[in-house]
């Protein structure tokens, strides 16, 4: 496969996943604010920290109002990682490889792109519109994976799609976790209080994990939630699951055996998987969750750079 094409699939996939996650954040937070009177504003500011680009917001907006935050995260085309910005980039990438992706995938990307441009709800108006809008974006986001799985040959292009999506998702799940722990928990006096329970439940919800978590652990506890979202092997948004599948996808490109590597990209990704496979939540907590997430994110960046070096810059 052409290096340029592989790179475009990889980034298209990452941006699609990014867009979906933004819709998830907003969807869940709109929902949460209804349950946590008085906490609303604090909550919305936390959203900015998930994306890690708080400064970008303050450069553009004077007030941290919920409407401004939604406008920034979802509809601001000047912010490259906004929902609209991510979709623009996903579509630009898709446009450059239309001959490789299935017509159905292109059509769905196009539909979402046009929906965002022609019919965005007004963040200043009722949350009714917002809720159904972002829910629809989320569902369309979920459909990308299904379309790709069922319309593309499971060959190299498909592997790059998976790799991009899963690496992006591992990163996003770690950020969601980080924000909850780092921003809310230490500064909040509500630890263990009903409000806190609702917030933790919200975190599960934003990763579509609430039901699965409940069947596995029952009671909501921060430790179990962290354990679930980091170390669960089977849940599709948990970090270990994402990394294992990403490892599989990247190895799939060259047909490298499991637990082997032929280049630094495979090596770094394999190392990350092994480390996670043989650690425990208590070890992670000892390190400090925030520090651990920091390390994870720089390791993910290292993998991304290695992929670029090995495969995309022939």
């Amino acid at each position: 496969m052409l290096s340029r094409v592989a790179e475009s699939i990889y980034w298209m996939s990452r941006y699609l996943e990014r867009a979906e996650n933004i819709a998830r954040y907003i969807d869940v937070h709109s929902n949460l604010t209804l349950d946590t009177p008085g906490m609303a504003r604090n909550n919305w500011s936390a959203l900015l920290r998930v994306t890690g680009e708080y400064r970008e917001f303050t450069e553009r907006y004077a007030e941290e109002s919920p409407a401004n935050i939604i406008r920034f995260l979802a509809f601001d085309p000047s912010y490259a990682n906004s929902l609209v910005g991510s979709m623009n980039q996903a579509r630009e990438n898709a446009r450059s490889i239309r001959e490789v992706i299935s017509p159905e995938l292109w059509q769905q990307i196009n539909s979402l792109y046009h929906m965002l441009r022609t019919d965005p709800p007004d963040p200043d108006r009722s949350s009714q519109d917002l809720y159904s809008f972002f829910n629809q974006v989320k569902l369309m986001g979920l459909s990308f994976g299904g379309i790709v799985n069922d319309t593309m040959a499971h060959t190299e292009g498909w592997q790059w799609f998976r790799a991009g999506r899963l690496i992006e998702r591992a990163d996003k799940t770690s950020r969601i976790l980080d924000v909850k722990y780092f921003t809310l928990l230490p500064s909040s006096e509500d630890v263990g209080a009903p409000i806190d329970q609702i917030q933790w439940a919200g975190l599960l919800k934003s990763t579509s994990a609430q039901e699965v978590y409940r069947t596995r652990y029952g009671e909501i506890s921060p430790r179990n939630i962290a354990r679930f979202l980091i170390l669960d092997r089977d849940f599709p948004r948990s970090i270990l699951h994402c990394l294992n599948r990403a490892d599989e996808a990247v190895r799939g490109v060259l047909g490298t055996y499991p637990n082997h590597f032929q280049n630094p990209a495979e090596q770094f990704l394999g190392q990350m998987c092994s480390e996670l496979a043989y650690t425990t939540i208590d070890r992670i907590m000892e390190t400090g969750l925030h520090e651990w997430v920091d390390t994870l994110q720089s390791n993910l960046n290292r993998v991304g750079l290695a992929i670029h070096e090995v495969y995309f810059s022939a």
Binding site: L2, R4, I97, R98, E99, W106, H114, F312, A314
Partner: protein, 505 residues
């Protein structure tokens, strides 16, 4: 001769419902040859199934179907980029639902004419870059060749595989009020538009399935397969067993990018950009995630002068350094071959009938439009005196640019062109303003006549294969004669319908 006779009476049963229908009871055929209606306002016999269908539609249904089709094209991203706007704007190529129909007998004759013409043009190009017999025999003046902008001295002596230079051609045909198809332009350099033919057809099959069966329309869906076959056939001789064919695009900001990716996808060929290729020891490779892979055929959708910065424009970043040398050595085939532009020159165009006679010993089946060459003194005087009735064209421009339509132009514009002609007579030709035929298009809930042309697509490999019909372009602006997509043109599906009966009604 199979022509539409404008004033001939309609044959066959008349259709009483015709006068009552909303859609075209007030259709104004004007004084033009019409592609759907005869002189009496009745549909041509081969258009009757369509008319019956439209008659049967409830009120408002036609424009509803029109909108649905446009929506579908937009959702599928069948768009082109518009040059000259501040931001890259994507638009759908406006599409009109009413197909343009050509009866098969008339088409067969047209097809024979196109084959004849492309055969002669190809021999001409080969001759230009070799012995120039046609010059020595006094048929075409040498200075015309040397001064043609598309003439590339670097191509002298090159022998492309099978002797084929113009593998893909999109000849522009028009019909004037005599009803006769005439050749307007030959377009031997990467003609675009065929993807719209294929996309339009898909839409039409969904929109008018009933009429399709009744009209017995010749299919066009084998075009991508034929294109791939052609690319494989012209691969370098020693690589013909399993050649790797690619499509080279300038990238996604090019106005025809949709078409490039669409064709690559339909053929299952790699779509590449210049930066994906590298030339080593005069062999072309593409860069893949698993190393370099040899490329045998490049269907390039970039112009000659951007192809190779080492030979042509040094500043080109779209091209591939060294690809021309690889081509010259026969290690890769370029489609179309560089240098075909020499026969695309509008002055050279005037000599095509003579070429057909010279190389094939035949009379041209398809006539040219009468052409005044401004470099000839007598013709120039005539042109300058009659600018208000003529169409003036720059010899080397495409896409409807560099053109003056005398009857529609202001005095200032005409004077500007007069200056241009006097300054560089070699660069201009003039033709009479044709009364181009018209076809009905949907305007609101009515039909109105608009001028059309026709661009059939010709593939030239081991044999010549022609797509039945082609792209019908419509000047959507009322009374406009310019059909180019960059200038507000649209398109229609073109149906070659099996029709054994006479064509002249």
């Amino acid at each position: 001769m199979w022509v539409f006779a404008r004033d001939a009476p309609a044959s066959g049963p008349s259709f009483p419902s015709r006068r009552e229908t909303m859609a075209y009871n007030d259709y104004d055929r004007g004084t033009f040859c019409d592609e759907m209606f005869d002189g009496q306002g009745a549909p041509w016999p081969w258009a009757r199934p369509l008319q019956t269908c439209i008659d049967g539609l409830p009120e408002g249904e036609l424009s509803k179907r029109q909108q649905a089709a446009e929506r579908a094209l937009f959702d599928m991203g069948i768009t082109f980029n518009v040059y000259g706007n501040d931001e890259a704007t994507e638009k759908i190529f406006p599409f009109d639902l009413i197909p343009r129909m050509i009866p098969s007998r008339e088409w067969d004759r047209t097809e024979a004419g196109l084959k004849q013409r492309i055969t002669a043009l190809n021999l001409f190009i080969d001759d230009v870059y070799h012995d120039r017999k046609i010059v020595k025999d006094g048929v075409v003046p040498e200075e015309i060749l040397e001064s043609a902008e598309g003439y590339l001295p670097a191509c002298r002596g090159i022998d492309p595989p099978l002797g084929v230079w113009c593998h893909i051609t999109g000849t522009d045909l028009v019909r004037d009020d005599s009803g006769q198809f005439m050749v307007l332009e030959d377009n031997l350099r990467c003609p675009s538009g065929v993807s719209y033919v294929l996309a339009n057809r898909e839409q039409m099959k969904r929109t008018f399935p009933e009429v399709f069966a009744a009209s017995r329309v010749r299919p066009v869906s084998d075009y991508p397969g034929n294109l791939l076959k052609t690319l494989h056939e012209v691969a370098p001789g020693n690589r013909r067993d399993h050649p790797l064919a690619t499509l080279l695009t300038p990238g996604r900001y090019n106005s025809a990018y949709f078409e490039h990716s669409f064709l690559a996808q339909q053929m299952g060929a790699q779509l590449i950009e210049g930066r994906d290729l590298t030339v080593q020891n005069d062999v072309v490779y593409m860069k893949t995630t698993q190393g370099l892979e040899r490329v045998d055929v490049v269907y390039r959708r970039i112009n000659d002068d951007y192809l190779d910065p080492r030979v042509f424009r040094p500043e080109s970043v779209l091209g591939v350094p060294g690809i021309f040398e690889a081509y010259r050595k026969g290690n890769v085939t370029l489609v179309n071959a560089p240098g075909t532009g020499v026969a695309d020159d509008k002055v050279v165009y005037a000599y095509v009938s003579a070429m057909i006679k010279y190389y094939l010993g035949e009379d041209a089946i398809l006539p040219n439009v009468e052409t005044y060459l401004c470099w000839e003194e007598k013709a120039r005087a005539h042109v300058l005196e009659n600018l208000d009735t003529l169409v003036v064209k720059a010899a080397n421009e495409a896409g409807g640019y560099g053109m003056l339509i005398g009857p529609h132009a202001s005095k200032a514009e005409r004077e500007r062109f007069a200056e241009l002609i006097r300054a560089k007579p070699r660069n201009y030709i003039a033709q009479p303003t044709l009364k181009l035929s018209r076809a009905p298009v949907i305007v609101g809930d009515r039909l109105e006549g608009r001028h059309v042309d026709l661009r059939p697509y010709i593939l030239y490999g081991e044999e010549i294969r022609i797509l039945p019909g082609g792209l019908t372009r419509v000047a959507l602006k009322k009374d406009s004669l310019v059909v180019n997509s960059s200038q507000g043109g649209g398109s229609k599906d073109t149906w070659v319908t099996e029709w054994e009966g006479g064509v002249s009604c």
